[in-house]
């Protein structure tokens, strides 16, 4: 072969190779489709809506702001956009370059969530364990006390979540305490989540879009509490047209309005809720002229959404809620008294008033920015304040023979917590196989534990006898805390069946000149067989820097949030969890999860300490110890069809130990809310467009409490013998189990514009006398003749919430 021929062959081969490479390169060119998925009627962004390219199986879901991004090889595809409760939309798009596609879905045929592709934040498709999405509709349909739909009470029905006191809204997740849950409204932590001592939560269902609960392998972006994260997202506001809801119930009245300010650009959403007693306060005051007493609560929510462009969106949100109790009593009179020859005429007028109010004020400003089709950012500025203010006073005027004596005493007491925060979150999607999230947050906490002052003034005639203002505590006393955190996580696919989510959360808390650092690794993995079965395993370390000094089993305004100190270390937990899942039957989901959680530096009040929420000397009254929680949770959900609902069963055990002996003589004891078995059944059936019923049944083994078991002689500090009640160990009595059936019925009536809904519900339908408080009663016994026969011992329970029917009327327009 000549050299020339050889060169020609070589050149031809090189040309062919170059051509092949360029063709291959063209074939593998990646393009990205991104945009927002919204409701067609309202323009409301849909969280967790899916996009799927069925042939390749590649898909993505929208984030908390309705934004999605999917990178695929260039080509022409049928994209399926879907969301639970909405009709699927298929769009054929020739993808040659990065493309922005905003999709509006129409409410309609109910779609099982199993149709939605992976990389969700919660649910079976999510890589995380113990992550549950609760749509607003589910919250509104669940029958509850006095017809008031309640976010936290629906959460209580999830496996692994328990209510505290029967009928109250506190949540206890996987053996944790009530202060170990980070409850966030649009990403801003809320400290006081209760109204009316915990019977209702502060979240108004009309304003809520979606609730997500994390209790297992926490995403790295969350931190600050060890037991659960509750992420509550509110409505953005209707971008298309004005709508509203008016609701009148037994306890409260509600109003919700939303609509466009500039169509498809600027929208508002406002909600208000208030107890009737707030509205009728002037009338009550008029009727109860001399001794006026009133209690009420109210909530105000507002949000403005501004879609500046496809790349930039702004959200401004505010929440303000209060509980208020007032008492005002007036007396007056006059008379004449005669002492011998002297006659004295006197007149008096006195007034006693007590007022206490407490609640949160929250404000946030959020900016969504799409840098490019692969990088999305959300930046939030937030302000949050919880405040309790109490005033009590008395004033008295006496006129004796024309000489006036006035005295006035007024006590002011307040406490609270204030946070300023800034947070930035990035979603980066380098390829369909990866979803990287990273960001940071800074919170500036100011804790104002207690401030109290009193004014005492007494004037006799023209002479000022007393005029003093006393500050019982340092009026400038406050604690500062600086909390800084960074996180990064990557949810990525390994092959067709395995997704892994490793992440890390690094946090720092600085207070009283001491800085605590915490490196919290998180990892979870999911293996899907492709036949409906999937298996997950995860691990998460969490740390917590604030505590709630709680007084009782109910939420009281004097409960105080306090930071960790130089002596009280952060609470940490390590949680291991595994789970098996099946969603191979359309409209059904089955899951079983098991967990083991070890907690360190958890706080308990020492033996013999007062639990009232004073912060004074609180470090001396608590002890740091360890706790374990373990359990298995079963959940069966029916997510589609006319009948939906779920059945949850939890088998759990949780205990505490304080090795230094300061509590329970150093021996392990069951936690107050150690409930072995919990069953929750919720069924919602829609007969037709007009009628629907719903029912929930809950059973829970009783928690524990401490009761004296005998009377015993003791040596007093001064050396004499006296008698006392003897307690053998902490939480030595198991309270009887609680169970109750709640039933609700909805009648929908189509109106010229919108609809009206009558709701009739019965709480505790078979009037089970569930115990709210249990106590031992010692008292003298007498025979029929009234003779003392000895001292008897009885265990008594107090039931606050027996059978309670309610009715409410709602008008949507």
């Amino acid at each position: 072969m000549s050299i020339t021929k050889l060169r020609w062959k070589t050149a031809r081969a090189a040309l062919m190779l170059a051509l092949f490479i360029s063709v291959s390169a063209a074939a593998q060119k990646k393009v990205t489709i991104s945009g927002h998925i919204t409701d067609i009627a309202s323009g409301e962004t849909l969280i967790g809506a899916g996009i799927l390219e069925k042939e390749s199986g590649l898909g993505a879901v929208t984030n908390n702001f309705g934004y999605y991004t999917l990178t695929i090889p260039a080509g022409e595809y049928d994209f399926h956009f879907s969301y639970v409760g909405y009709s699927e939309k298929v769009m054929r798009i020739d993808m040659r370059r990065d493309t922005v596609v905003n999709v509006a879905l129409e409410a309609g045929e109910t779609l099982s969530s199993s149709h939605i592709v992976a990389r969700k934040d919660a649910g079976i498709q999510s890589t995380y364990l113990g992550a549950i999405d609760i749509p607003a509709a589910q919250i509104k349909n669940t029958p509850v006390l006095f017809g008031e739909a309640d976010v936290l009470k629906v959460l209580q029905m999830m496996p692994g979540v328990q209510g505290g006191n029967e009928g109250f809204s506190g949540i206890y997740v996987r053996g944790g305490g009530p202060d170990e849950n980070l409850i966030m409204l649009d990403g801003v932590p809320i400290y006081n989540v209760d109204h009316m001592l915990g019977i209702f939560s502060v979240f108004q269902p009309e304003a809520v879009k979606k609730v997500t609960l994390y209790k297992g392998s926490f995403p790295a972006r969350y931190g600050g509490r060890i037991s659960s994260i509750v992420d509550i997202r509110t409505n953005d506001g209707n971008m298309k047209e004005n709508h509203g809801t008016v609701s009148i119930g037994l306890i409260s009245d509600k109003l919700h309005l939303e609509g466009p300010i500039i169509k498809d650009k600027l929208a508002y959403s406002v909600s208000a809720r208030g107890m009737h007693t707030a509205l009728y306060a002037p009338v009550i005051k008029m009727v109860l002229k001399d001794a006026y007493a009133n209690y009420y609560f109210y909530d105000l929510n507002g949000k403005v959404t501004w879609r500046l462009s496809d790349r930039d969106r702004f959200y401004f949100g505010a929440y303000h809620g209060r509980d208020r109790f007032v008492y005002d009593e007036k007396n007056e009179g006059e008379g004449t008294e005669t002492f011998g020859a002297q006659t004295t005429h006197h007149k008096y007028k006195d007034r006693t008033d007590v007022g206490v109010h407490w609640g949160n004020t929250v404000g946030s400003a959020r900016w969504n920015h799409v840098f490019n089709s692969k990088l999305f950012a959300n930046t939030t500025l937030s302000y949050n304040r919880y405040r309790m203010v109490m005033g009590a006073g008395s004033a008295e005027t006496d006129i004796v023979d024309g000489v006036t004596t006035t005295s006035r005493y007024h006590l002011d007491y307040h406490s609270g917590i204030r946070d300023f925060g800034i947070r930035t979150d990035f979603d980066y999607t380098p390829s369909p196989k990866h979803l990287v999230k990273f960001g940071s947050e800074y919170l500036w906490h100011t804790f104002i534990p207690e401030r109290m002052s009193a004014v005492d003034r007494e004037v006799n005639g023209a002479e000022i006898q007393v005029d003093t203002t006393i500050h019982f505590a340092d009026p400038k006393k406050k604690y500062l805390g600086h909390e800084l955190s960074f996180y990064a996580e990557d949810d990525f696919s390994v092959g067709e069946h395995l997704t892994v989510n490793p992440g890390v959360h690094l946090s720092m808390f600085n207070t009283e000149g001491r800085t605590y650092w915490s490196l919290q690794p998180r990892v979870s993995a999911k293996f899907s067989t492709g036949t409906g079965y999937s298996f997950k395993a995860g691990y998460a370390r969490m740390a917590q820097y604030v505590h709630l000094l709680s007084s009782a089993q109910i939420s009281l305004p004097v409960d105080l949030w306090v930071p960790i100190t130089k002596d009280i270390r952060p609470v940490t937990s390590d949680q291991f969890s595994v789970g098996a899942y099946y969603d191979g039957i359309k409209g059904w989901e089955f899951s079983v999860e098991a967990y083991l959680k070890n907690m360190r530096n958890i706080l308990e009040y020492k033996d013999g300490t007062l639990m009232l929420g004073t912060s004074e000397g609180w470090e001396k009254r608590v002890e740091m110890g360890e706790g374990t929680a373990k359990g298995i949770e079963f959940l069966v959900q029916k997510t589609a069809g006319k009948t939906t609902g779920w059945l949850a069963y939890t088998l759990a055990k949780t205990d505490r130990i304080f090795p230094d002996g300061s509590i329970n003589n150093g021996e392990r004891f069951p936690y107050k809310y150690d409930r072995r078995h919990c069953i929750d059944l919720s069924v919602d059936h829609r007969f037709n467009k007009k009628w629907g019923i719903n029912a929930t049944w809950s059973f829970a083994t009783g928690g524990t409490t401490t009761v004296p078991v005998r009377q015993v002689a003791v040596l007093s500090p001064y050396g004499y013998v006296t008698d006392a009640q003897y307690v053998d160990h902490r939480n030595n009595f198991r309270i009887p189990p609680s169970h109750r059936l709640n039933i609700g019925c909805n009648l929908h009536k189509e109106r010229r514009r919108g609809e009206s809904i009558w709701n009739l519900s019965v709480y505790n339908a078979y009037n089970r006398m569930n115990p709210n408080f249990v106590f031992m009663d010692y008292g003298p016994d007498y025979d029929n003749n009234g003779n003392y026969t000895g001292t008897s011992l009885k265990m008594k329970k107090i039931t606050i919430l027996p059978l309670l029917p309610s009715v409410s009327w709602t008008r949507n327009f």
Binding site: L197, V354, V356, M390, A392, L411, M452, T468, T469, H471, A473, S551, A552, I554, L556, P557, V558, E604, D607, G608, T609, L610, M611, L612, T614, E616, G617, K620, G661, N664, N665, T706, V709, R710, Q711, V712, V714, L715, S716, P717, D723, A724, Q725, Y726, V727, R730, M769, P771, Y782, N787, Y788, L793, K794, M795, K796, K797, I798, T799, I800, P802
Partner: protein
């Protein structure tokens, strides 16, 4: 106070609409447990054991029991001698008049001498019931030195524009302690004063001598970390009635283990003042000698925990309350309940200058 106010108002509102029922609670009214109580000391030769029987609903006295004391395995007395038993019963006003408010126990006395290191066993038996406690007498603390100075301490109450200060004169006792070596030690501080008064008339020198005390005196600590032992000082604290103070005056050696420490206690000077006026009608010369006795008891961890439990009960009451975490009572009695302690006692005396008063 305001806490109770809010708590009461809100709780009353709830409870007013609530229903109360009795729930099943199984207990055996005849399930009695013998309770032994005793605070014995190396400084005493006569000791007292309080014996009672604890039931779910009552306490009864326990006369006719045998109480024995063994020191290092030998019974110091052939048989414990009940010094007669005494039942103290007082009365309280019930709904139908007076009802017995039993404070029943039976008191047993015996004589014995204990030394540090002794193994002491106190055993009580009656019928089928038998309970005992075994204690090793701990080593005493060493009081190296003590000194006094009179100081003025002030409690501050703030008002707008001014600070109100209440001043009190104290005798400050500075005491140097040396911890018992090689062990965790637990102590209590017990100051006492005694007075000897000698009366003279124009005709007769020292015609009468009157001895008073020793009697216990209270002291303040003003944030002495060792003596307060983690409790509030109780001085001027806003919530002093809500936080227990160290009524039993117990403390541990955790801040000076196997070493020395200086503590300061403050006793109001009025404890040391003598007012001679009441003797002026019989004497024209009164000579007063005052002595301060500082005794420190050393005992075991069980009794220390018991004293701390008593601090809580003394502050919040001896009954279980829904707003107070119940106090667990430690016990070192096998087969029963209660606590027996044998303390090693060390002491130091400080004599004050003799005072002479003339009518």
């Amino acid at each position: 106070m305001r806490k109770y106010l809010i708590f009461s108002i809100l709780l009353t509102a709830l409870v007013s609409v609530a229903c109360e029922n009795t729930i099943k609670y199984e207990y055996d009214l005849n399930d009695g447990k013998m309770t032994l109580l005793g605070q014995l000391s190396t400084a005493d030769t006569t000791h007292t054991i309080f014996l009672s029987i604890s039931y779910p609903d009552r306490i009864d006295s326990l006369p006719g029991a045998t109480v024995e004391c063994f020191v290092n395995g030998s019974r110091t007395l052939a048989r414990s001698i009940p010094a007669g038993y005494r039942e103290e019963t007082d009365w309280m006003t019930g709904e139908t008049g007076l009802v017995p408010n039993h404070l029943p126990y039976t008191e047993y006395k015996f004589e014995a001498i204990f030394k540090p290191g002794d193994k002491v066993r106190i055993e009580a038996t009656k019928g089928q019931m038998n309970a005992w406690a075994e204690i090793v007498v701990p080593q005493p603390i060493t009081l190296i030195a003590a000194d006094t100075v009179t100081v003025v301490k002030s409690s501050v109450y703030q008002s707008v524009g001014e600070t109100e200060t209440y001043e009190q004169e104290y005798v400050e006792f500075t005491v140097r302690l040396s911890d018992a070596k090689g062990m965790d030690s637990y102590y209590s501080m017990n100051p006492k004063t005694s007075t000897v008064i000698k009366l003279s008339s124009e005709n007769e020198e020292d015609f009468s001598t009157i001895s008073q005390g020793p009697s216990s005196v209270s002291y303040e600590t003003f944030h002495d970390l060792i003596l307060e032992d983690g409790y509030s000082s109780g001085m001027g604290d806003l919530f002093e009635d809500l936080v227990p103070v160290n009524y039993t005056r117990c403390f541990s050696d955790k801040m000076f283990r196997d070493s020395e420490a200086t503590v300061r206690l403050y006793i109001p000077t009025y404890y040391f003042r003598f007012y001679p006026y009441e003797y002026y009608y019989i004497a024209n010369k009164i000579v007063v000698d005052k002595t301060f006795h500082l005794s420190v008891k050393s005992f075991d961890r069980d009794f220390y925990n018991y004293l701390r439990a008593m601090n809580n009960m003394q502050c919040y009451g001896y009954e279980v309350s829904p707003i107070i975490e119940p106090t667990m009572l430690p016990s070192n009695v096998t087969g029963g309940l209660g606590i027996i302690s044998v303390a090693s006692e060390s002491g130091i005396d400080i004599a004050f200058p003799t005072e002479v008063f003339y009518r």
